[in-house]
Amino acid sequence: MAMNRRGFLVAVPVLAAAGLACTPGAEKGAGFGYRELAKNQAASGRKETILVFMPDTTQTREVWSGMRDELGEEFNLVAVEVPGRGASTSIAEGMRRHRPSVVVLMNNPTVAGYRDYQLQARDRNFPPALIVMTSFLEGSSVGVSAASGISYEVPLITVVTNLRKLMTSTIDRVGVVARAPLTRFVQRQAALARREQITVDVEYVSANPNPSELKRALRQLKNRVGALWILNDDRLLTRNLIASAWLPALDERPWVPSIVGAASLVSAAQSFGTFAVLPDHAALGVQTANRIFDIADNDWRLPDGPQVELPLSTTTTVDLIQARERFALREDALAQVDRILK
């Protein structure tokens, strides 16, 4: 069924995690909403437990499933639901019950809850923590001790490599609208993208831009670049800015393909994102599991080296109506996308 503009806008913000169904065998206890979503007993007989704190969403369930497939034979795994920031009590209860060798924290509110738990804890010996599905993790200080992680934003270098496989036009210059707080993030992405001869052209806008400012920035960029990369910045993706700046500016000529980082920003009913390039959540679970194996091999301590990795595996969605109407796709383009909206 086609989605009208109102439906699209209602479906939009988007940047928070969505729902994860409860698995059978969920355990309730302690009277304050402590809930174990899933549990896996190691076949190997090893005693170590990996404790996963996560909200109940489809995406986090996929990450959990990738982790369980990799780690389930060797280690005990427990998933504890963390519905929001006020959940440091659930976290404390999970830590008390399971005394984990590693904890995995999925999404920003869970990280905030774990930070609160660490501040309140008497025992200062915390196990290594792996942070996943958290916005703009790379280069940020999350305030959690003994932490490392995998950032959630798909790197620009990956986004453009994927796009080049789909479009006939040459994509060497990519435009991005950014606010000052994300300057360092954009600079790091631009430095990495240079390895693939990609130039990043940035239009900076104020901390709280109005529609005119954003529209002006987009119009200027569109005349200079081969594609637009739209950051998952919730200040730039408000309903008002989407309706009054993004949609009208993207609908004007010259048309430029736009790449978004949220599935709900691509719709066959609205010409917003032409493509969405998102982390492959099951593969993100496998990548997380590989980091846990590295920690286990290092006597359950964080190994030296970079503490934040970029996600390796992605899925691509295309708004086929917009893409065919406005751009030239390669002959085999559709064999290179995971989801086609038409």
Binding site: D69, E70, P155, I157, T158, T161, N162, R164, K165, L192, R195, E196, Q197, D280, A282, A283, V286, N290, F293, E309, L310, L312, S313, D332, L334, A335, Q336, V337, D338, R339
Partner: protein, 225 residues
């Protein structure tokens, strides 16, 4: 109303019974196209056969446990699951193909690389063993589930080289402007093969042996024997 509902139910039952009777083929082959596209092309080429293509070994094991009539995968995967190939892929008259190490800016030396990216064929231990057998020495292996995920390992400097079938090097090079250089390694790997796992395997064997050339080529094969 009652009759219509009855007819609808009968129709649904007939469809479901027909679907249950369809021979079932499970495919676990890493190709340079998305699993969705590979599965779609195989379904089109194999009418009357229920095709499931998976990209992860855990999904392969789950689907295998659900019962299949035939399985298409590399012989190294089949033998790890106790399955015998009934029909083998051939390429340029050989049942195996060469693999290459690919690096950025320098030709990788199999005797010196310390970290290598590879497709996850057999899980952690099995894939580590597979890579070590091919390269003849122990080293750190970063596993990925899709061909397209090998390139980011090099782009992000996570590994010194990636290991892949030599025929896929051109696919990787087309997608990248890194200065990619490859070196074939001495040992070859057997091409994908079909194992019979159920009573309805014969029509699958027959169908796969007559796959369109382009689709067989996607699987790395130009002939089936």
């Amino acid at each position: 109303m009652g009759l219509a509902a009855g007819a609808l139910a009968a129709g649904l039952f007939a469809t479901s019974a027909a679907s249950a009777a369809e021979p079932k083929l499970l495919v676990f082959v890493h190709a340079a196209v998305k699993q969705r596209a590979l599965e779609g092309e195989l379904r089109q080429a194999l009418p009357g056969i229920s095709v499931t293509a998976v990209g992860r070994i855990a999904d392969f094991d789950r689907a295998l446990a659900q019962g299949q009539d035939a399985v298409l995968a590399l012989p190294v995967v089949l033998s790890a699951r106790g399955l015998q190939p009934k029909m083998r892929g051939q390429r340029k008259g050989s049942g195996s193909e060469s693999y290459a190490l690919v690096g950025a800016d320098a030709v990788p030396d199999p005797a010196r690389v310390a970290t290598v990216g590879a497709l996850d064929l057999l899980g952690r231990e099995g894939t580590n063993g597979f890579v070590q057998t091919l390269l003849g020495r122990s080293l750190k292996v970063e596993r990925v589930t899709k061909v397209e995920d090998l390139l980011p390992l090099l782009q992000m400097g996570r590994v010194q080289a990636i290991l892949l079938p030599s025929r896929l090097f051109s696919e990787i090079r087309t997608a990248s402007r890194l200065n990619l250089l490859s070196r074939d390694i001495a040992r070859g790997v057997e091409l994908c093969a079909l194992a019979s796992t159920g009573p309805n395997a014969p029509p699958i064997l027959s169908g796969v042996s007559r796959l369109p050339k382009a689709l067989s080529a996607t699987l790395g094969v130009d002939e089936w024997r």
